[in-house]
């Protein structure tokens, strides 16, 4: 089996100006734009309702976006529509340069935490019907904006890494590994803390983190909790973990405002976990004192 490869001239100079590939592409683009315009009108008029979204725009290297601004888009509403659906529609229909992170669409990859109507939420699991319209969509506050809705997550990742976020038992057995035991109660104890998807909503909502760039923040402290409370790691490692979170920019900075707990899309009781680590730290200090 074989197929022939059709060779087409690529550069405009080789072809007649009227039919050059560049001209054809421009013509096709015009046709598509006209079709799209018609399609948009149809979709908007067929939809029972349309929803307006106002989206933050910024690009440091594009002339008319260097100054931050908001763009408004009108999107046909359907039952079950998420804020992410509305953003995707706006991008694929009106402006392909509209930029935001998204991947799994089911609240597990943690890419699309945004500031939606004044609150940190995951765009994919936020229903358009639950919000006031028009919907205002901004990047996460307290983080540098890279472009449009994309923020620089580097600082967040650094804080996560600062708590040594990895299972690291006191002793590692030699030879063929045997399964370790963990009580169902202990597994239950760490269960909620293991649900973190690193979306950064909590850190963005935290006043302390906003004022103290070195504060570990709720997500990192929750990560420390996840390991400190896991009975498989051992007491020595737990003490080291408590020392990390007890540092100047650790658990004691938390003023229990619960903003992180309120915005967490995985319902992790972050503030409680921070409080519990404070208590553990006090207990262990008394013990060694």
């Amino acid at each position: 089996m074989s197929t022939k490869i059709e060779e087409k001239p690529e550069t405009e100079t080789e072809a007649d100006e009227q039919t050059s590939p560049g001209e054809q592409r421009r013509e096709l683009k015009r046709e598509r734009a006209a079709e799209r315009e018609q399609q948009i009108q149809e979709e908007l008029s067929e939809a029972e309702e349309t929803v307006g979204i106002k989206v933050f725009r910024f690009d440091p290297e594009v002339a008319d976006k260097e100054e931050p601004r908001f763009d408004s888009f009108t999107v046909p509403f359907f039952r079950g529509m998420s804020v992410l659906d509305a953003l995707v529609y706006a991008r694929d229909t009106y402006d392909s340069s509209l930029t935001f992170r998204h991947s799994c669409r089911q609240a597990v990859c943690g890419s699309d935490a945004l500031f939606i109507n004044g609150r940190q939420r995951l765009a994919c699991k936020t229903q358009v019907s639950d919000l006031e319209w028009p919907i205002r969509i901004e990047p996460l506050p307290h983080q540098d904006v890279v472009k449009d809705l994309v923020v620089d997550m580097e600082h967040f990742y650094e804080q996560m890494h600062a708590v040594e976020p990895f299972f690291d038992p006191d002793e590692t057995p030699d030879g063929e590994l045997e399964e370790q035991r963990q009580t169902p109660e202990n597994r239950e104890k760490v269960k909620l803390s293991t649900r973190c998807i690193w979306c950064g909503a909590c850190m963005s909502s935290c006043n302390i983190a906003a004022g103290d760039n070195e504060y570990l923040g709720p997500a990192a402290i929750n990560k420390a909790y996840r390991f400190a409370m896991d009975e498989r790691e051992g007491e020595d490692r737990k003490q080291e973990r408590l020392r990390i979170v007890e540092q100047e920019h650790g658990v004691w900075r938390c003023q229990t405002q619960f903003s992180c707990t309120e915005v967490c899309p995985k319902d992790i009781p972050l503030t409680e976990h921070i409080q519990e680590l404070k208590r553990e730290a006090v207990k262990s200090n008394l013990k060694f004192w």
Binding site: K29, S111, E176, T183, R195
Partner: protein, 608 residues
């Protein structure tokens, strides 16, 4: 230019496992991923990890179930290695801190899953993939392995000898999304592709937006064929409005499927008289769609999955995540009412042709995880077999790339493995539209690895410049066209006329792709450019799926043909290979290997 011993492309489960293993063997490893590792789609896996842990269970039972599940299209050397090593990998993961669900005595819980002769699916609630992904990323952090996150690999740097089996992969070209910088990544010992699935070739899929078949398509154009691409798993329980997955764990725990007459369809209509809801995924998906086609579907679209009788306590304990998904993405309370479900594209059994160490026919080029085909899953993957696969074969490829494997592979790859050609004509033209895309150096001239890389970077730079500078149409239209035709014509039920239509539509899409352009002029975080490049990969993998499906005139595993309702072992006990062949693709076959470590597997009737 960046330089490492081993470069792993993609940082989901398979990539992370490969990187850890190569690092343990002393290699300087880097992970290059278009996402951040924790954003990878392994995190969406729900159900579990199969491994024979119990005394009453054994690796050969696991191997037998996997071979039967594959409908005898798996290669025994891959299946046996997999089943033998899965136990070690699961225990290893436990020692890395994986928060498995536990029994009262503190041992790891295991539950029944479809197509398994023993309850051997370990799990962590209904969010096993999330925990596996994070646990392994944590181990990567612990080891200080370098991660280039949000770097999109667009091309492999491979020499251009005429026979792909003579070629060598020296690295890859990656685009830093934040800055628009294109760089060469020189891999002294090997490139391991771990780029995941290709669900974006369909419009109703459980896969992430990022699952665009990048690895399969890149390796294909570099000379490593795609294998068994017609075998696409449609998961029987996805939410109708979004494609979000409802784990097989629901049926494993006792969930029941009902049609519009409130009949327990699996038994009522004889789809699986022994295993019922726990038959293999392909069987259940066909059952559901048959119900809908025969007028017993709900709203002519879906069926009901009911778990209410399991009781709130058990549901919260083992399936809590399912309640959140049903509530957030379908507005249904699973404790109060049955959940609407229908089949959706879920997993690609086929992928880059590799041996049981994940090595392709191109020297130094590996593939592992969903983008690879060893072949382990054959014509149908069993639920709970994907996560142990990425552990076992991630580790094997990492070890091999680091130079720590001395055994010769038993699975042959490349043109030398060919047994026969497909001798029919394609209904549409295939492959490249414009002049062939050079792989690397000119005319087979001997070139240093650095020259091969430099040339690859230059080719990519020109391609990006062209897309950025010219005027043209939006790639999203082209991608939508492919997704639409694949979902309409290359779905659970396949007919010749539909498959031909799909190939014509894909050809049209490919010709239109010649006219795409990137409207966003920015070098900063240009997702318009990223998605435009991905769409080309989507076209290549879609073509391989549709042509493989047209060529295979039998019903085997997930591949159902209206005119050919029997498995035809006399004719089709063989793998489909699809080779780029310099832009002039070629479809051919190679035999299945049924000779295992202990015994030869005899194809039997596959009933559940």
């Amino acid at each position: 230019m960046y330089e490492h011993d081993v470069i792993v492309v993609g940082a989901g489960g398979a990539g992370l496992r490969a990187a850890i293993e190569a690092h343990e063997e002393g290699a300087d490893v880097a992970l290059v991923t278009k996402l951040h590792p924790v954003r990878s789609h392994t995190g969406a896996a729900e159900g579990g990890i199969n491994a024979a842990l119990h005394e009453k269970d054994s690796w050969d039972l696991h191997a037998y179930d996997t071979m039967k599940g594959s409908d005898y299209l798996g290669d025994a050397p891959a299946i046996d290695a997999f089943a033998k090593e899965a136990r070690h990998e699961v225990i290893q993961l436990e020692h890395w801190g994986m928060p498995f669900s536990r029994e009262e005595d503190g041992t790891v819980s295991q539950r029944p899953f479809g197509g398994l002769s023993h309850p051997r699916t370990t799990y962590a609630g209904a969010e096993t993939g999330h925990h596996l992904l994070h646990t392994m990323y944590e181990q990567v952090v612990k080891r200080g392995i370098e991660v280039y996150d949000e770097w999109f690999v667009t091309r492999l740097a491979v020499t251009d000898e005429p026979n792909p089996s003579d070629r060598t992969c020296h690295g890859c070209v990656a685009y830093e999304i934040a800055t628009g910088e294109l760089s060469g990544f020189y891999a002294r010992d090997g490139v391991i592709l771990a780029t995941g699935g290709l669900g974006q070739a369909f419009d109703h899929t459980t896969n992430a937006i990022a699952c665009t078949g990048d690895g399969q398509a890149m390796a294909y154009r570099a000379g490593a064929p795609m294998e068994d691409m017609e075998f696409v798993q449609f998961h029987p329980t996805t939410l109708p409005s979004t494609g979000v997955l409802i784990s097989e764990g629901v049926r494993g725990e006792g969930g029941i499927l009902y049609n519009d007459n409130e009949e327990r369809l699996m038994y009522e209509y004889g789809y699986a008289n022994n295993d019922g809801e726990l038959a293999s995924r392909d069987v259940v998906s066909r059952a559901e769609l048959t119900e809908v086609n025969e007028g017993r579907g709900i709203e002519d679209e879906y069926v009901h999955l009911d778990m209410r009788h399991l009781g709130e306590e058990r549901i919260i304990d083992r399936l809590e995540n399912i309640l959140h998904l049903a509530e957030d993405f379908e507005g249904v309370d699973g404790l109060d009412e049955p959940m609407p479900v229908k089949p959706g594209q879920h997993y690609q059994m086929g992928g880059t042709e590799v041996d049981e160490y994940g090595h392709s026919c191109v020297d130094g080029l590996y593939a592992v995880g969903e983008c690879a085909c060893y072949s382990l899953h054959g014509a149908n993957r069993l639920g709970g077999n994907a996560l142990p696969e990425l552990l076992v074969f991630g580790a094997r490829a990492g070890r091999h790339a680091a130079g720590a494997v001395e055994e010769e592979p038993e699975i042959p790859t490349g043109p030398g493995a060919k047994s026969d050609d497909w001798d029919e004509e394609s209904p549409a033209e295939l492959g490249a539209v414009d002049a062939t895309d050079p792989i690397a150096a000119d005319g087979g001239a001997v070139a240093t690895p650095q020259e091969v890389l430099e040339q690859a970077v230059e080719t990519e730079r020109e391609r990006v410049e062209t897309l950025m500078e010219r005027d043209g149409i939006n790639h999203a239209d082209v991608r939508a066209k492919v997704q639409k035709t694949m979902t309409e014509n290359v779905n659970v039920f396949r007919e010749e006329s539909n498959l031909k239509q799909a190939l014509k539509d894909i050809r049209e899409a490919r010709e239109e792709y010649q006219n795409v352009a990137v409207a966003d002029p920015s070098r900063t975080y240009n997702t318009d450019l990223i998605h435009t490049i991905e769409t080309r990969n989507v076209i290549d993998v879609a073509e391989a799926i549709a042509l493989g499906a047209l060529a295979r005139k039998e019903f085997r595993g997930a591949h159902w043909r209206k005119q050919y309702q029997e498995r035809r072992d006399d004719e089709y006990l063989k793998h489909t290979l699809y080779a780029w062949n310099g832009g002039n693709p070629e479809l051919y076959y190679k035999p299945v290997i049924l000779e295992g470590h202990e015994e030869k597997y005899e194809p039997k009737v596959r009933s559940y």
